[in-house]
Structures are given as C-alpha cells and as structure tokens.
C-alpha cells in the first residue's frame, strides 16, 4: 500500500492514538456520554484521514483543496480576524480585571489583569516581529 499524503496519515494516526488512549482512560475511570462521543469522533476523524491518505484520488482532492487560492485566503483572513478579536478581548478583560481589582482591592483580580496584560504584550510583540519579517521578505 502506498502513502500519498504523509501529513494526513500522521494526523490520522495521532487522532486514532488519542481515541485509543481515551478508550483506556474510559475503561479505568468509567464510561460517560461525553467520553464516548469524544472517542467516536477521534476514531472517525482519524480513520477517515488514514483511509484518505492511502487513496490517490482522495489525496489529490485534499491537496487541491489545501492549495486552492480562495481557501488559503479564507484561512489567512480567519486567522488574522481571530487574532485581532483575541487581542481585543484580552485588552477588554485586562482593563475590566484591573479596574475591578482597584475598586474591590481584591488581589485575585489584579493578578488576572496582570496575566492578561502579559498575554496582550506578547501578542503585540509577536505582531511587530511578524510585521518586520514580512516587510523584509515580501
């Protein structure tokens, strides 16, 4: 059997492995609805990816979908928008927690605010570094 999409085979096998690990975890701790759904989903997705990676036609279809310029643009826009939203939410929550901490005098709020401020600063630096990289390479 020939492998046509190694990346997909890898992700499929990881999904199957996670599914099997969850089965063992469920055997030890007892089965519940969410655990069963997770195991089934992981095995289904993993199995599907593994089967697709062995088929020439299906792998070609997947590769075309991956290379499709509109799909790439959507992926880029989605990631960019998600990053902006996360930055905004982070900033909003940081301000809220810092104000709440100042008003109530509760250190927990201040700590949460500082944690979010750190995350926001990291995101800002990442953005600046990424911008410099693409300014240089494009």
């Amino acid at each position: 059997m020939k492998i046509y999409n190694k990346k997909q085979l890898g992700s499929g096998l990881v999904c199957i492995a996670l599914g099997l690990l969850n089965v063992f975890a469920c055997i030890n701790t007892g089965f519940n609805i969410s655990g069963i759904i997770l195991v089934l989903a992981l095995l289904f997705i993993g199995g599907g990816s593994t089967i697709r990676s062995f088929s020439y036609n299906l792998s070609k279809e997947d590769r075309l979908e991956e290379l499709d310029e509109r799909n790439q643009l959507i992926k880029l826009k989605t990631k960019s928008k998600a990053f902006r939203l996360t930055q905004g939410i982070c900033f909003g929550l940081m301000l809220t927690f810092l104000v709440m901490g100042k008003v109530s005098g509760e250190n927990t709020f201040i700590s949460m605010g500082v944690g979010l401020a750190f995350a926001y600063t990291v995101s800002m630096f990442t953005e600046i570094i990424t911008h410099c990289y693409y300014e240089k390479h494009n």
Binding site: L64, E65, L67, D68, E69, R70, N71, L73
Partner: protein
C-alpha cells in the same frame, strides 16, 4: 471584481466543476468569482482566459474595473 466567467462558461455549456477541474481550483472558488465575491489571482485569471480562448482583459473586464477603481481613488 466583475468578470465574464459565468457568461463565457454558460456560453460553452460548461459546468462550474468542469471549469474548476481545468484550472485546478475548487468549485466554490468558481462560484465566488461568478458572484463577484472573490477576485482571482493573475495566474487563475490567465488559466481561465486560456480555457475560454480569450484575453485576460476581456474575461476580467479590466478596463471597466480600472475605471471603477480610478473613481474610488479620486473620491478618497
């Protein structure tokens, strides 16, 4: 961006899937181009122009789109 893709595709009785296969994109990309929601890349426009045997200028209504863009920049 306005294009004549739908017009030319229907004129030769070609399906969206067939055109998508010929230019190596998904049928959703063709649908979006026809709905003027997505502007094709230069290479994709060239591939489609070759399929229909016309120039890119004609397929992508470049003159018309340029005039629209010029008006937009004038109003900035």
């Amino acid at each position: 961006m306005k294009t004549k893709v739908k017009e030319m595709r229907t004129a030769v009785k070609m399906t969206q899937q067939r055109l998508a296969d010929l230019v190596h994109v998904s049928s959703r990309t063709i649908i979006s181009i026809e709905k003027e929601q997505y502007s094709p890349s230069l290479m994709l426009a060239y591939r489609m122009a070759q399929v229909f045997g016309v120039a890119i200028e004609e397929l992508c209504c470049l003159e018309e789109n340029k005039e629209l863009e010029d008006k937009y920049f004038e109003n900035l």
